[in-house]
Subunit: 111 residues, 2 copies
DNA sequence: TTGCTTTATCGTAAAAAAACGATTAATAAA
DNA sequence: TTTATTAATCGTTTTTTTACGATAAAGCAA
């Protein structure tokens, strides 16, 4: 039982894990692909493309929006979503930075 | 109820989601950091550093190993783990490729 | 051999995520 | 105004994940 055990995970570790969690479901990746492809904000069309119920898709959209990865605005009776590129780019940069910081130490393999 | 609904998610979407799921817990990110920092294969030292029980750490290691992201060999009574850089690099490359394929279409924002 | 260390596995409990149908709210169309 | 459409939310169930203690297996040290 070392002293280090008292420490929780770092903020960096938690932030990266939270971003990875967003990408950890095929539906959310598919949603991002649809949004990027349409370039415009889509709404119920996503439901048509995904093999999931409307309420489930809405739930996934909410998660992405809460995390700031997408923006959403109400457009009449429809809802309009698009990717928040600033946020997405930052997440990817942080993720790549982690990888590089690990990778830089690579010298030998032992198993 | 469109025809597309019958289709499941693509293999690419599932593979990327599976990798992201590996990174979706701070403990597993912390484990990778320890392995990279030590460069050599560690075993029970990971348990000392993480704020988790030995059995829980062992479980996380198993997940990482099953996915091929780390290698593990038995070294006497101890176990020896290290990062599978080939696999890790491929995962990161695929992940970046997804991002670029989305990003390339960025032109305007609508919301 | 006997005891100690190390780590994987088992069994289980608690928490979180995922999914759906039903309902509601809000707008647009008739 | 009445009806349609659209999408968020609610309530609930199922599944998955996370976590831990206890146990077992396997090797090392005495």
């Amino acid at each position: 039982m070392s002293i280090a055990k008292i420490e929780e995970f770092t903020q960096q570790e938690q932030d990266l894990a939270a971003f990875a969690k967003l990408m950890s479901h095929p539906a959310r990746i598919a949603i991002l692909k649809v949004l990027a492809a349409q370039n415009a904000c889509i709404c119920g069309e996503i439901v048509e493309v995904l093999p999931l119920a409307q309420s489930t898709v809405s739930q996934h959209l909410k998660e992405l929006k809460n995390a700031g990865l997408i923006n959403g605005t109400i457009d009449g009776p429809k809802s309009c979503y698009c990717i928040n590129w600033i946020a997405f780019e930052k997440f990817m940069a942080d993720f790549n930075a982690l990888f590089l910081s690990l990778h830089i130490q690579k010298e030998k393999t032992c198993c």
